[in-house]
Subunit: 423 residues, 2 copies
């Protein structure tokens, strides 16, 4: 089946989503498809949730002759090459084509990049099911994981299982607006399809001994997945040999920019968990900072939190999770540092302690109806741990919820963490 | 030789040094010797570099009837139980005895805690040589390492070899004044004496497979040490069996407080290197922050820097160094976070970029004659790497020196670090 000749087909790339982060990722990808015609078709399709938008008066695209009449967001993007609503004042490459139909946008694409609010995943997957190339591969840029009392699932798994394709994950210390302005930062991409696709086992791909992601059922995994009550049933289709291989090197080429450095890893669960669990730790950092304990104490809760993130990953995703994903990659330690510097969870927790009020009060007063991710993640993770009798094994995660719910105060943190020092 | 009976002797502890950090550590240790009479003699000797001191007028110990006459610092400490000069307004435990003679202070002590400016190590070691218990053990709280073009040496090694004893190391995200006020933080203690002392191989001690510190010469180490041009010749004396064992548990008991959490490790080199190399990274973080690139970029240089710290440790201290010492302990990632939040190196580098002047200029203008550790460490580490042709393997460390010396600017950092992204 494999041919040794040069690939005759090029990858078509579709971005599913066009918000602040989706438009930024589309910009990056479109710059790279243009620079690498040996691998990719130049045109990048971007699915846009269609809406009527007024070009803001302060936009350079505002045309007084058209007055106040709203226009379609896709038409604005395709005319002005700018997403005036969600990523204003950033020029998008002309090879991005905004498309209001997700089915049409994804048609014939071998690479699907998912970058939309997680609430949309179910609906969009239903629309795409059966309408995509069966051998397509996905990358999810959606931060967070789904945690309920009974299970934790990764958005990349959800997408992959819904569409019957393999889906990796991208996460890092990435604030979309800064990247759109080409301020330098890094990210981590996890991609490790099961060996069904023989093209992956090239020297540039992940080694066969690298962590297996959740679509492969090894005996150890099987037992583990049983505990969590879900076993993937996806059967993957091999990428036809006419395409350039979809390996680490190809994905790095698709996402790497001089201002957006990329490290490829194989640990999809670790990459996904980092972006969710860090929000709990950021609340703890805010509590300690608000209490006036200084930078040492803040660094201490961050360190303890980082290790609880590792422990959580290893305990519930087993062999597939590597310590280094949390302690050495952008999706782990760097994202945690950023969130504990000026992130929303950090700031609200800090204000709550300084003002002597609850985090919920600060949230209601300061966030204009937006919700903190850390508080809901702390709750969900706690229910999940409680259902397994493991709360005490995660003293920082547990302390954060107990402080949020008034059973403890920040002053209890040192004593609550005493056991975390055990060698 | 070993007896199974209860120990009949108790450890006497001496603190060598009484500055800001030395007095803080003396407070911690004296609180613990009092609480643990089963292990330690209550009285803690503290060597004080004697000087004539005026009690400040705003001190509660200022006695207008004594007027302006200076008093001996040892006498002030022993009378008022406060180091009015170096740790003012902090009550010291009454079981600390300030002693102007280092030989007398260390006499009969089985535990020596070194906490003095590194410039004093040579002189003090000479005075102590032959005047201490031959089976004493040391802990160095002195931050940093000695780097020259030809070698890197640890202060703990220097002390240990000078006195013919084993010496471990304590380092962490530890600002003395905050700890003295009992604001919570953490630290890391590395202690792993070679197996000559049979008492160490208790179940609570480090496992035999744990990293060996530099006093033990294994074949691999021997080759390695040859490269660095130094081989330890220390012959250790076993601790008499009348004493409680000097293992991880005992040292943890000596240093752990509710406000000062301790993790014990075996990697002395890693613990010592963290406190030195972080200063180079803090300069890089300051450059990037001063350039206005935001928290993502700052977290990115910290992450890259942390991995260069690991690489440096492994390359020059081989098997004895663990990645986790840098990425998981207070002496590594937490100390780095603190230094990159508000540390002096970070602040001066940031100001330099903001003002468009050199770091040397900021140093001269802002630091009142004090010197930045990061700039000298960057220079020393670079000469060491250059002498081995390894500069290019450490792109961040090298970039920092090149920016300090005007060969590059902060804008070059992303391109200079591009190779750090290689998988």
């Amino acid at each position: 089946m494999a041919t040794l000749g040069a690939p005759t087909k090029k990858h078509k790339v579709t971005i599913i989503g066009s918000g602040n982060w989706g438009s930024t990722i589309a910009k990056i990808v479109a710059e790279n498809t243009k620079e690498h015609p040996e691998l990719f078709q130049e045109e990048v399709q971007m699915w846009v949730y269609e809406e009527d938008v007024m070009v803001p008066k302060d936009s350079k695209h505002y045309d007084s002759s058209k007055g106040e009449s709203p226009q379609k967001l896709t038409s604005i993007i395709n005319t002005y090459h700018e997403n005036v609503k969600y990523l204003p004042n950033i020029a998008l490459p002309k090879n991005i084509v905004a498309n209001p139909s997700v089915v049409d946008a994804a048609k014939g694409s071998s690479i699907l990049v998912f970058n939309l609010p997680h609430q949309f995943i179910g609906r969009i997957s239903k629309q795409l099911e059966g309408n995509i190339l069966p051998y397509a591969r996905g990358i999810s840029c959606i931060k967070g994981v789904n945690v309920t009392e009974s299970e934790i699932s990764l958005f990349s798994e959800w997408i992959g299982e819904g569409l019957g394709i393999y889906c990796g994950a991208l996460s890092g210390a990435n604030i979309a607006n800064e990247i759109a302005q080409e301020k330098w930062c890094e990210t981590t991409i996890a991609y490790d399809p099961p060996p069904i696709d023989s093209r992956v086992a090239t020297p540039t791909g992940p080694s066969p001994s690298a962590s297996r992601v959740n679509l492969t059922i090894t005996p150890a995994d099987e037992e583990h997945r049983d505990v969590l009550g879900r076993i993937s049933k996806t059967k993957l289709k091999a990428l036809p040999s006419e395409y350039p291989p979809l390996d680490h090197a190809t994905f790095k080429t698709l996402f790497y920019r001089p201002y957006f450095h990329v490290r490829m890893v194989s640990d999809v669960a670790g990459v996904s968990l980092g972006g969710a669990l860090k929000n709990i730790v950021a609340l703890a950092a805010g509590f300690v900072d608000g209490r006036g304990w200084g930078d040492n104490a803040k660094a201490a809760v961050m360190r303890v939190g980082l290790l609880e993130m590792v422990k959580f990953g290893k305990e519930f995703f087993g062999q597939t999770v590597h310590t280094g994903t949390f302690t050495e990659e952008s999706c782990g330690v760097a994202d945690l540092i950023t969130s504990c510097s000026g992130g929303r969870n950090f700031r609200c927790a800090k204000m709550a302690v300084e003002r002597g009020v609850s985090v919920d009060e600060v949230e209601a007063k300061e966030l204009n109806g937006q919700k903190l991710q850390g508080t809901s993640t702390a709750k969900e993770v706690n229910s999940f741990l409680k259902a397994r009798g493991l709360e005490a094994e995660y003293p920082l995660f547990t302390a954060v919820l107990d402080i949020l719910e008034g059973r403890n105060t920040v002053d209890d943190i040192p004593a609550l963490l005493a056991r975390a020092d055990d060698d």
